[in-house]
Symmetry: C2
Subunit: 625 residues, 2 copies
């Protein structure tokens, strides 16, 4: 039996990051995928990033992951979402050439030293004394490892539904992973069933784009990755349109043909990402719903018909497509479908994403009940890092809720579990004002460097930037302007109110009507920081400006973090007995005993937990200590 340090089962978005992280940290890593031609395939839309997801991609990149780099290299349409809103909720989103994305990620994975790639279907885990020691593939070959990461996405017991027909598959046209699903449940994992769906793919030449509203790529765009120096030149537009009353009629009249409504699909879907059936049935008063045509690549006719996801029979799918203005003649290349699959309830995981039942086994991605490429990639990286650290006998890597969106997601998953597919939202992050896309590198690159995933050059560059920012803030804070005709006429010129008291340039930057470039107005001041004002690092300028403009909010959030940490980090002794605590409901007692939170913070986030209950626990802990 060949021995590896880490084995990763599944080369999707989670698996690629897991395997890359582990091998880059020095572990001999073996990555399995059912078919090498489907590595990093985008199961659904050809886009990376988006609200809260852009943050995840930048965090992955800041830690030394790959998703952002590959997205940058293969993107053909760029957008900043919420560009007009505050920096906390701004996110980047790109559309990629789907085939290029897949091939580029495959070639990165192939070229990574210590990463061994192999095409095979893994059927079961090898277990010894409560520890996973390897895996066995479909042909009965065994492979040994000190840690195993499972990232099998929607493939465990995958079952595709189109109308009343259903058949096993991991994705349309791909085989499901049946024995591994059985094996996990035999090993004692509590499994659940979820469902997701995808819209039809249409043929570009059969769409009347003139009847849809064209949206071009944003002209300027900040790449996801710190190491991207140029983007490709080709750009593809998107096209916007709407469903019609006819669309809605078709669905209402035929809803009994939807497996979602016929009671056939038992898996839980995401409320926030409803199928078209759901939208029509649940929001009966809405006259129309938006649809977006996203081209899947530079050299293909395939178009992703966002907004038209459903699980109705093919004939109805066609009628629905044709009811949308511009799509009257559109041909379907791939049918829409829903898929049900098994997931593992993530309360069975520790914060490292190691399972509680089986030592050495880590789970990441859709198998944990999440949804989305970025969520998968972030977990994959996290699990890969922790698997490597465990193999190397180093302490685990866990980011908390104030450090990263990743930290929020993992904490949510392992503490609260999931009752529908979990997707990242900015609203899930209490401290989203300090967890911005724009400061992901500042927050996490040093951590990536410690892990060995960030090169010394990059780390130096970022720590230089961090220093420039804090120095810049200091210098701008110490340089004051004084009320007077000279100064106030300059301000007036910019449409900014006159000052009555002395003010530092940093304070001036707080004004919404005063921007970094306006600093130049005061270049005649002695000690004016010429070098800083002309700083070529856009990022330094942006950070200082954000720190100025949002100083009040940011410092309040930093204080909240400090308070939270003090409480959060309060450890609950292992084996803590909840049954004896007065004033706790039986339900909460059972829950707390099952989850066995390690800290008060973790206890706090258990669903159903109240302030009163938390106080009761805190009292007992204090007594104990």
């Amino acid at each position: 039996m060949k021995q590896y340090d880490v084995i990763v089962v599944g080369g999707g978005h989670a698996g690629c990051e897991a395997a890359l992280a582990a091998s880059r940290m020095g572990c001999e890593t073996l990555l399995f995928n059912i078919n090498l031609d489907s590595i990093a395939l985008m199961s659904c839309n050809p886009a990376i990033g988006g609200l809260a997801k852009g943050q995840l991609v930048k965090e992955i990149d800041a830690l030394g992951g790959e998703m952002g780099k590959v997205a940058d290299r293969t993107a053909v349409h760029f957008r900043i979402l919420n560009a007009s809103k505050g920096p906390a909720v701004q996110s980047s989103r790109v559309q990629c050439d789907k085939q290029l994305y897949r091939l580029t990620m495959k070639s990165v994975v192939e070229r990574q030293p210590k990463l061994h790639l192999f095409q095979a279907l893994v059927d079961r885990l090898l277990v010894e004394d409560g520890r996973v020691v390897g895996v066995e593939d479909q042909t009965g070959v065994s492979y040994g490892a000190k840690a195993v990461v499972i990232t099998t996405g929607t493939f465990l017991n995958g079952l595709i539904h189109i109308g009343m027909a259903h058949y096993p598959a991991g994705r349309a046209g791909e085989m499901a992973s049946l024995p591994l699903a059985r094996n996990l449940s035999e090993l004692g994992f509590e499994m659940g069933r979820m469902k997701t769906g995808t819209p039809p793919r249409l043929k570009a030449s059969t769409i009347d784009f003139s009847r849809l509203e064209r949206q071009d790529s944003d002209p300027a765009f900040e790449p996801f990755s710190l190491s991207t120096h140029h983007l490709r030149e080709e750009r593809l537009p998107s096209y916007f349109g709407y469903t019609t009353p006819e669309t809605h009629c078709l669905i209402r009249d035929n809803i009994r043909l939807s497996p979602l409504y016929g009671g056939i699909i038992k898996g839980i879907g995401a409320r926030y990402c409803p199928s078209l059936e759901d939208k029509v049935m649940r929001f009966a008063d809405r006259q129309r719903h938006p649809v977006v045509m996203e081209l899947e690549g530079l050299d293909t006719e395939e178009v992703y018909a966002k907004g038209l996801g459903n699980s109705l029979p093919l004939e109805l799918q066609e009628k629905i497509v044709h009811s949308v203005p511009g799509l009257e003649e559109a041909e379907i290349l791939r049918a829409a479908y829903a898929i049900e699959y098994d997931f593992v309830q993530p309360t069975q995981l520790q914060h490292t994403l190691e399972t509680k039942i089986l030592r050495g086994l880590y789970l990441a991605g859709q198998i944990n009940g999440t949804s989305g490429y970025e969520e998968a990639a972030a977990q994959g990286m996290w699990a890969g890092i922790n698997a490597a650290l465990a193999v190397q006998g180093r302490p685990p890597f866990v980011l908390d809720r104030s450090e990263a969106y990743m930290g929020v997601m993992v904490d949510d998953l392992v503490t609260q579990g999931v009752d529908e597919p979990y997707r990242m939202f900015t609203s899930r992050a209490e401290y989203r004002l300090i967890l911005r896309e724009d400061n992901a590198a500042l927050r996490l690159t040093p951590r990536g460097f410690e892990l060995g995933l960030i090169s010394p050059e990059l780390q130096e560059q970022i720590s230089g930037r961090i220093q420039q920012i804090s120095e810049g803030i200091k210098r701008l804070s110490s340089l004051r302007i004084y009320p007077g005709v000279n100064v106030n006429s300059k301000l007036e010129q910019k449409g900014s109110p006159a000052i009555k008291n002395p003010l530092s340039l940093f304070q001036l930057l707080k004004r919404t009507d005063f921007s970094w470039d306006d600093l130049a107005l005061f270049s005649d001041l002695p000690d004016f920081p010429e070098d800083l004002a002309a700083c070529s690092d856009r990022n330094v300028r942006k950070q200082i400006e954000i720190e100025a403009k949002y100083e009040g909010y940011i410092s309040r959030q930093r204080e909240a973090v400090a308070r939270m940490k003090a409480l959060e980090n309060r450890r609950i002794p292992p084996g803590f007995d909840y049954s004896a605590i007065p004033g706790l409901s039986n339900e909460l007692k059972t829950k707390l005993s099952r989850v066995a939170p390690e800290t008060l913070g973790q206890a706090r986030r258990i669903t159903g937990m109240t302030q009163a209950a938390l106080a009761a626990v805190l009292i007992i802990i204090k007594k104990w200590e």
Copy 2:
């Protein structure tokens, strides 16, 4: 139920040509593939062309097919095989970027008007009164058509073997097509079982290429297609090496672990394309066998390890790979495997590739018991053309053995059937001296034009070329040189013997030591065809030279064709009663009654047919007439 003219089931090499031909001829055509991402995937090596196969590709191109064009656009390594031998056995072979090939063909198929593409697994045929009227897919949706072409390759009841393990699959990592196989056999088709295999894919960075012999692409190369004007610039080398006594030992010592030898695989493999197990066991005296490392693409580490095909367990595969100098450390990315699959005995087909049992049903490609991309593509095109012609009520399209390699193949298949995977060889073509790669366009472009598959411009170009050639031959034949010092000293200068009698320039071209360029020696002759000698069409020059040099052989072959045609075309009346013919063995009587040959030519090619038996049949026919 949606109605089409032609439905093609399977988007491999046969299916793509079938669907393109039918739609280009004006038929509304629907093409199914299990997964749109595997259209035109090369199941085995990343090469197009080769001995006798290059001829097929040029014939496909001359008729207006696509394989040659896509190969030209994606090729990264070029060779002329048998470059030092006669033109009849010279063939072109290229290695392509496998992913580019697939994506390029997909994009051609997507962009073809009247061609409708759809991802689905077809489960059964719809039949009415002995006629196929459509198909039904996995989800129960029906699609109507006037003709159906099945091109499902190795997918019917596909079963993969690696050592003693086996599991259903159409190719590694892809699902098999089980219900359609059952349906065909229920419809009364005689099915057989074949097997083929593929070598492992190795990781380039783990190969020590310095221990292998590098072979670079040929610098000059004639594209496959008449319409290719430039080839891509990137080139990839190949690397040659050899197995060792250790390799052979490993196989001999473990032969009981091979499913081929353990009696587990029942399907018939090709004798001419033995697996490594076969080579070692059957040619025990051979000290070594060649292996070639072919890079699968520009941007991938995958290397096709030609010559190392086997079906042994993975651990042994690794040892075998490592026993080859240069591959000591090589890592396997995809395991070698053997696959068994169902085929339909092609004696159940007419010369149009329509089945005898079910009107409107055509079969093409590996399903007919052949092997190879080019064989599949040629049949696919043939079946697609005939399906379209039938739908349009036009007479069928059949090339005979003297017109094309395609004609040889189809005639062999439907007349003799197959007892092992059928592959094209130059030796199968009796008239190979007139069925050359270099004259494929001259032979077949006019036919492609008649079918509507060749543009008027291209047809004009080719008919211009045909005229230039025949005129050129005339002009060179009429221009004579006379013995004399002036002439003979020129000849001597080229190392060519002096002449004693007058000789035409055409006769002079017969000499092996006298080439086209040497004609210029006689440019001082009055009436010297300046324009012809300087003709920019390399092809015209080449054709005239070949016609000169091989005139004797060629004309003898043309006469043989004429004699054959007279006899071949002699029709056998339908329902002809063989039982009463004296001197025919019972076995032959049964065979003849079953095959029911339409012509004497077809009867002649039935295996077991003797000259005497043929004469007996001829006598009765003459009596009848």
